[in-house]
């Protein structure tokens, strides 16, 4: 005679109870033994173990160090000409393609007052401000929504506050573009290379299917230089450490009234406009 239904249910019940209790038993008898999988080094860590004093990589000693990078844009000094110089420098050195229409790629661009600061729109504001062309770029927010929504951690925030992208990890889902309230991110709907007039060979282009944006020239900071836009703008754009009360940036912020883009959203943008 085989197993009848009653016996089968009993056995199944016992087996199930044992299975549920299994992990608890492990924890009681040998605590931590189940966590081993989490603590296993990745293949990458096994090849390059840092813990064994094999620290063969290091930052450049000349690199600029800051606790919280930010930028101040002085709207009295920022002429259209200077702004264009800054934009041109950025676009050339980062191989930003010039694609017309809706598929345009923007790292740094010019926009109107009502577009940049929609919630402080005021019909009787100083016409000099109202009609000015503001330079817009990634705000490298202290509380960046793009980082929070990125499903692959391709977008991340560095310790010095720069919101960086790892193009190798970007899957092109465009959640970050939906998350960014400033339109600072652009998607490569097509291969950007044919739209780059003159390639700068020492910086990569992007490929079809990734999102890109301003990086605060992290590759320049790493060798002790200022971002291209700050350099090309003739003093109208000042880059510096927001956390350092003695910095030129903080001195400028104390000297005049400054506004930020969409502060009510709580993203804490780190690009300040002196108006």
């Amino acid at each position: 005679m085989g197993v009848d239904r009653r016996q089968f249910l009993k056995l199944a019940g016992i087996a199930g109870a044992l299975g549920l209790g299994g992990s608890v038993g492990f924890q009681l008898l040998k605590p931590g033994s189940l966590d081993a999988a989490e603590r296993m080094p990745t293949p990458y860590q096994m090849v390059f173990p840092k813990s064994q004093g094999n620290s063969e990589v290091m930052p450049n000693p000349k690199a600029l160090k800051g606790r919280r990078w930010g930028m101040v844009i002085d709207m009295r000094k920022l002429t259209e000409e200077k702004a264009r110089a800054a934009i041109q420098a950025c676009n050339y050195y980062h191989n930003v393609p010039d694609i017309p229409g809706k598929q345009t790629i923007k790292w740094i661009w010019l926009t109107g007052y009502v577009n940049a600061f929609p919630e402080v729109e005021n019909p009787f504001a100083d016409p000099e401000i109202k009609n000015a062309r503001f330079i817009a770029m990634c705000n490298h927010c202290d509380n960046p929504p793009c980082v929070r929504v990125c499903p692959t951690k391709a977008t991340f925030q560095r310790e010095d506050g720069i919101v960086m992208m790892d193009m190798h990890r970007c899957i092109g889902c465009r959640f970050c573009m939906a998350g960014c309230p400033y339109g600072s991110r652009s998607f490569n709907f097509r291969d950007p290379r044919p739209f780059i007039k003159k390639e700068y060979p020492l910086y990569p282009t992007r490929t079809k299917g990734v999102v890109e944006k301003c990086t605060f020239c992290s590759e320049r900071l790493a060798v002790g230089k200022l971002p291209y836009c700050a350099e090309a703008s003739g003093g109208a754009m000042v880059f510096g450490d927001v956390d350092d009360a003695g910095s030129e940036l903080r001195r400028l912020l104390r000297s005049r009234y400054s506004i930020r883009r969409k502060p009510n959203l709580g993203t804490h943008p780190q690009v300040y406009y002196l108006v």
Partner: protein, 129 residues
């Protein structure tokens, strides 16, 4: 046992086998030439970041490691086993000596039929004719 439609089946099988095995017997004895990546002249570079044997088998591991360190941690200098320091960059370091992708990278990659997509983004030096 009787094979119905014997002649047609035999002929069909022969034709099928001939077509199926075509790649094997047509390519017999014609092995692709072993790749000869052209090394960099001694005048340009005297020392690579690691020895040739390591680079031949593991350059992709090294490059992945460099990529993660540079992009994620911002550490951009690499101290090689011989004590020299290199800037971790494909365009700014590797390609400064290995100036021809066709004569160097492609030699082995084509032979092994691997198609890394590094160059979808990283620009290669212009090939000299």
């Amino acid at each position: 046992m009787k094979l119905y439609n014997g002649p047609q089946i035999i002929v069909g099988l022969v034709i099928f086998l001939a077509i199926f095995t075509y790649p094997f017997w047509s390519g017999a004895g014609k092995a692709a030439p072993v790749p000869k990546p052209q090394p960099v002249p001694k005048s340009v570079a005297t020392q690579c970041v690691a020895d040739t044997a390591y680079m031949r088998t593991s350059h992709m591991t090294l490059l992945n490691h460099w990529r993660d360190e540079v992009v994620r941690d911002g550490d951009r200098l690499y101290e090689s086993a011989n004590g020299k320091t290199f800037n971790m960059s494909l365009s700014n370091t590797c390609f400064q000596c290995h100036t021809s992708k066709v004569k160097f990278c492609d030699q082995c990659h084509n032979y092994l039929a691997v198609a890394p997509f590094c160059w979808d983004c990283h620009l290669v030096p212009k090939e000299k004719k």
